[in-house]
C-alpha cells in the first residue's frame, strides 16, 4: 500500500511539474549576442522599427547584446527564410512583412517558410492600409472613387506585392474598376501621384501619412484602422458578407504588423523569456517616447496572441484562397 501511495505521489508530482507554466529566466541571455534580422535594406519603416525594438530588447534582456542585421531581397522572403532556417536557440530572431501570409496561402513559392511553425515573439503595431490619392485629385471621397466613370490607375510595387494584393482585394470587395501599374518601388508611387500620372495607391498608413501631412495627398479610406480613427473605415462601408470576408483578410494582416519572430521549435523557456522581454521593451516609457517622436504607431500584442492571429489568418476559406490565386493570375 505504501508503494501505491508513493507511486501516486510521484505521478501527481510529475504531472504538476510537466503542466506548470514555463517561467522565464531573465539571465538566460547574459553574455549572449542576439542577431535581429530586418528583411529590408537599411532605412524605411521595418528597419526603423526593428532597430528601435532591438535597442530596447537589449535593455530588457539582462546582459545581452542585440545586433541588427539587414537581410533584404525577394520581397522580405530572404530575411524570413533566414530566420526560419536559423538554429532554434533564440539567438536569431527578426522581422518581415506579414504579407508573406498571402504568398503562403496561394502556394506561390516553393519552400516557403511555414508561418504556423514560426516562434512568434510579439508584434508592435497595427498597420492599417489606406487608399491614397493626390490632394488635387478629382476624387474627394471614397464615394467619388467608387462611382468613377473610368478605369482608375493604381500603382503597386510589383505583381504579388502587398500593395497589389491589398488593392486587388479592395477592388473585389467594392467592385472597383482598376488598372494596376506595377514597378513603383519605395516612394515612386507617391511621386507618380504627385505628377498626376497615377490615380491611387494602397499602402500602410504610417508610411503614407507624412505625404498626406505635407499636403500632397488625401486618404479616401482606411482598412483595419484602430477604434477611434477619424478616417472612413472600409468595414463600415462593406454591405455584403463576401466584401466583409475579403476585407477581413487585409485587416487580419494589418493587425499583425511589425512582428518579431524566431525559427520554429525554439525552447519554451527561451521563447517565454524573449516574449516577456519583448512586452517589457515595447511598453517601456522611453521606447514609447522614441516611437512617438518617430511617428510610429504602437499597438503591441504578445507572442501567444500573434500565434493565434497568424493561425486564424492562415485558416482562410477555399473561396478566399481561390480569390487570392485569381488576383495573382490576372493580367
Amino acid at each position: 500500500m505504501f508503494k501505491k501511495i508513493w507511486a501516486t505521489c510521484l505521478v501527481v508530482l510529475a504531472g504538476l511539474l510537466l503542466s506548470s507554466p514555463v517561467l522565464a529566466d531573465s539571465t538566460l541571455f547574459d553574455g549572449k549576442t542576439i542577431t535581429y534580422i530586418v528583411a529590408t535594406k537599411p532605412g524605411g519603416g521595418y528597419d526603423t522599427m526593428g532597430r528601435l525594438v532591438a535597442k530596447y530588447l537589449e535593455k530588457h534582456l539582462k546582459g545581452s547584446r542585440v545586433v541588427v542585421k539587414n537581410v533584404p531581397g525577394a520581397g522580405h522572403l530572404i530575411g524570413a527564410k533566414t530566420i526560419f532556417a536559423a538554429k532554434p536557440d533564440g539567438l536569431t530572431i527578426g522581422t518581415f512583412n506579414t504579407s508573406l501570409i498571402n504568398s503562403q496561402l496561394t502556394n506561390a513559392i516553393a519552400d516557403h517558410p511555414d508561418m504556423n511553425q514560426m516562434s512568434w515573439i510579439g508584434k508592435a503595431a497595427i498597420e492599417s492600409r489606406v487608399l491614397l490619392v493626390s490632394a488635387m485629385s478629382e476624387f474627394k471621397n471614397f464615394d467619388d472613387f467608387r462611382k468613377a466613370q473610368r478605369t482608375v490607375k493604381m500603382a503597386t510595387s510589383g505583381k504579388g506585392s502587398a500593395s497589389h494584393i491589398d488593392a486587388s482585394l479592395l477592388a473585389k470587395a467594392f467592385d472597383l474598376n482598376m488598372e494596376f501599374i506595377h514597378g513603383f518601388e519605395g516612394s515612386e508611387a507617391e511621386m507618380s501621384i504627385l505628377r498626376g500620372e497615377i490615380d491611387a495607391h494602397v499602402g500602410s498608413r504610417s508610411s503614407l501619412q507624412p505625404f498626406v501631412d505635407n499636403g500632397y495627398g488625401r486618404i479616401l479610406l482606411e482598412i483595419g484602422g484602430e477604434p477611434g480613427s477619424k478616417l472612413p473605415q472600409a468595414s463600415d462601408l462593406a454591405t455584403t458578407d463576401r466584401s466583409r470576408s475579403v476585407l477581413s483578410l487585409i485587416e487580419a494582416q494589418a493587425r499583425i504588423s511589425r512582428l518579431t519572430a524566431g525559427p520554429g521549435n525554439v525552447n519554451p523557456l527561451v521563447l517565454q523569456t524573449l516574449r516577456e522581454a519583448y512586452m517589457s521593451a515595447t511598453s517601456d516609457p522611453d521606447f514609447l517616447a522614441e516611437a512617438d517622436k518617430l511617428k510610429l504607431p504602437i499597438s503591441t500584442a504578445s507572442g501567444e496572441a500573434v500565434t493565434a492571429l497568424v493561425k486564424a489568418a492562415l485558416a482562410q476559406s477555399p473561396e478566399i484562397v481561390g480569390l487570392l490565386k485569381e488576383v495573382l493570375k490576372e493580367e
Binding site: T48, N70, G75, G186, S187, E190, M191, R195, I198
Partner: protein, 500 residues
C-alpha cells in the same frame, strides 16, 4: 532671409567644436569606406547609424552627410592605382585613370581626381542651395517617360565607350543588358532565369558586376606579375607632388567640362531612382562625346578622370533635394540617410524650404566643407599612396580579394553571390585578354532595370504617346543627335584608315 540663414548656419557650424569634430571624423570615416573596395557610402551610413542614436538631429545629420559625401573622393584611388574600383560609381574612373597610371601619370591622375571631386562636391552644394526654392517643379519634371529616355541616352553612350571597335562595344553592352534581365519580373512576378535562387530575384547588383568585371581581371594580372620587373612597376606609379599638383591644375584647364559634368551629375542626382553609377558613366560618356579627340579616351585622357569624379560628388547635392524636400530619396545611399534622419527626428517635406532653412544650409555647408577637407587630407597623404602599388602582390592580392568578396557578400547578403562574382570575373578576364571593351557591360547592367521598368510604366500610363511629351522630345533629339554623331565619327575614322 536666404543670406541670413546661410551665414548664420555657417557660423553655427564653425563655432561649435562638437560639430567640427563630427564633420572631421565623418570625413575620415568616409575616406576609409571609399578607399576600401566593396565597402562604400551605404555601408558607412549603416555602420555609423548606431553611433548617432541620442544625438541632436543636426549633429547626427552633419556626421552622416560628411561621411557619405566624400566616399567617392577616395574611392578613385584604388581605381587609378590598381584598376580596382573603390565604389561602384568609381568604376568609370578606371577607364582612363588606370591607363594614366600605367603611362607613368599616376600622380597627375590622382591630382585630377582629387580636385575634380572637391570642385564637383562644392558645385553640388551650391546647386542644392540655389535650387531648393524650385525643387518641386524640377523633381516632378521627370516621369517614367524621361527615365526611360535617359536610360536609352546612357545606352547610346555605349558606342562612345567602345573605343575603336563599335561592334565589340555594342555586343558587350547588349550582353550587359541581357544579364540585367536576370531577376524577378516586377510586372508579371515571374522568375527570369533565376532558377528558384532567391538571391537573384532582385537582379545582379551593380557592385558585384563592377568588382567582377574590373577588379578580378586586374587581381589575376597582379597575382601573375612576378615575371614583370618589380622596379619598373614601382617606377610606373611613383610620382612627385608636382605631378599631383599638375593634375589639380588640369581641372582648371578643363573648367568648362568640369562645370558641365558637375551640373549633369547634380541633375542626375536630383532625379530619384537613377543613382550614382548612372551619373558617373553618363558624364564620362559626355566627356567622350564632347571631345574633339575622342580616340584618346580609354588610353589615359585626363578628361576621362575629371568627368566621372566631378559627377560622383556633385550628385550628392542634387540627390539631397528630393530627399529633404519630398522625403523621397534621390539614391539608395540617400534612402539609408533618410531613414537615419527620420530616426534622428528630422521631418523631410516642403517646410524644409522655409522652416527648415537653417538645417538645409548647415547640410549645404557640410557638403562643401567636407569635400574641401577631403581633398586637403588626401593631398597630404598622396605621397604614401604610390607606396601601395609597390607592395608585393603576395600581400596585396589576398587582401584585395577578401575585401572584394566582402563587398559582394554585403551587397547581396548571400554567399551564392561569390559564384556570380567568379562567373562574371571570368567573363571580365576573357574580355580583357582579348581586348574587348568592358565599360559597356557595366553600363548595360546598371541601366537595364531602369530602362525596362520605366518603359513598362510609361507605356501603361500613356501608351506610345509618352514619346510626345515635351521633355521626352528634347531627349529623343539628344539620343538621335548622339547616334548621328557616333556614325559621323565612325565614318571619319574609317575614311582616315582607308587613306592611310
Amino acid at each position: 532671409m536666404l543670406i541670413e540663414a546661410s551665414v548664420s548656419s555657417l557660423l553655427d557650424l564653425l563655432i561649435s567644436p562638437h560639430m567640427v569634430l563630427l564633420l572631421v571624423v565623418g570625413v575620415m570615416i568616409g575616406l576609409f569606406f571609399g578607399i576600401m573596395p566593396g565597402l562604400g557610402g551605404k555601408l558607412g551610413i549603416v555602420f555609423l547609424i548606431p553611433f548617432t542614436f541620442g544625438m541632436d538631429p543636426l549633429f547626427g545629420a552633419v556626421f552622416l552627410l560628411a561621411m557619405h559625401s566624400v566616399v567617392h573622393t577616395s574611392g578613385a584611388i584604388p581605381s587609378i592605382l590598381f584598376g580596382i574600383p573603390g565604389t561602384g560609381p568609381d568604376a568609370a574612373t578606371i577607364v582612363d585613370g588606370y591607363p594614366m597610371a600605367q603611362n607613368g601619370e599616376a600622380g597627375r591622375a590622382l591630382g585630377a581626381t582629387l580636385a575634380a571631386s572637391g570642385v564637383g562636391g562644392v558645385i553640388g552644394a551650391v546647386f542644392l542651395s540655389l535650387l531648393l526654392p524650385f525643387a518641386s517643379p524640377l523633381v516632378l519634371a521627370f516621369s517614367p517617360a524621361e527615365f526611360f529616355l535617359l536610360a536609352v541616352l546612357g545606352i547610346t553612350f555605349i558606342a562612345s565607350l567602345s573605343g575603336d571597335n563599335l561592334l565589340k562595344g555594342l555586343v558587350v553592352g547588349l550582353f550587359g543588358l541581357m544579364i540585367s534581365c536576370v531577376r524577378l519580373d516586377p510586372m508579371s512576378g515571374e522568375q527570369r532565369y533565376t532558377y528558384d535562387q532567391l538571391f537573384l530575384w532582385d537582379g545582379i547588383d551593380a557592385v558585384t558586376a563592377v568588382i567582377a568585371i574590373f577588379a578580378i581581371p586586374e587581381l589575376i594580372g597582379l597575382a601573375t606579375r612576378q615575371e614583370v620587373n618589380a622596379e619598373k612597376l614601382a617606377s610606373t606609379v611613383k610620382y612627385t607632388f608636382a605631378e599631383v599638383w599638375e593634375g589639380c591644375l588640369d581641372v582648371g584647364r578643363h573648367w568648362a567640362l568640369t562645370f558641365r559634368t558637375s551640373i549633369i551629375g547634380a541633375v542626375i542626382g536630383l532625379i530619384p531612382g537613377l543613382g550614382g553609377d548612372v551619373a558617373s558613366w553618363m558624364c564620362y560618356g559626355h566627356a567622350v562625346q564632347s571631345s574633339k579627340t575622342p580616340e584618346r579616351f580609354g588610353k589615359g585622357a585626363v578628361e576621362g578622370v575629371i568627368a566621372p569624379e566631378t559627377a560622383n560628388n556633385s550628385k550628392e547635392g542634387g540627390s539631397l533635394l528630393p530627399t529633404l524636400y519630398f522625403g523621397i530619396p534621390g539614391s539608395s545611399g540617400m534612402a539609408i540617410l533618410l531613414g537615419a534622419l527620420v530616426t534622428l527626428g528630422v521631418q523631410p517635406g516642403p517646410q524644409m524650404a522655409t522652416l527648415g532653412l537653417n538645417f538645409v544650409w548647415t547640410l549645404v555647408w557640410t557638403l562643401a566643407i567636407a569635400n574641401i577637407l577631403a581633398v586637403f587630407i588626401l593631398l597630404a597623404c598622396a605621397p604614401w599612396f604610390s607606396k601601395l602599388a609597390s607592395i608585393r602582390s603576395e600581400l596585396l592580392v589576398p587582401f584585395v580579394v577578401v575585401l572584394s568578396m566582402l563587398g559582394c557578400y554585403l551587397a547581396a547578403n548571400a554567399w551564392q553571390n561569390f559564384i556570380v562574382l567568379l562567373v562574371l570575373g571570368l567573363i571580365g578576364f576573357l574580355l580583357k585578354k582579348h581586348d574587348w571593351p568592358r565599360p559597356p557591360f557595366v553600363v548595360g547592367i546598371v541601366l537595364g532595370p531602369v530602362a525596362e521598368g520605366s518603359l513598362h510604366k510609361a507605356m501603361a500610363i500613356w501608351g506610345y504617346a509618352f514619346l510626345l511629351r515635351p521633355l521626352s522630345l528634347v531627349m529623343l533629339a539628344l539620343i538621335l543627335g548622339t547616334i548621328a554623331l557616333n556614325i559621323v565619327r565612325l565614318l571619319r575614322r574609317s575614311s582616315r584608315h582607308a587613306h592611310s
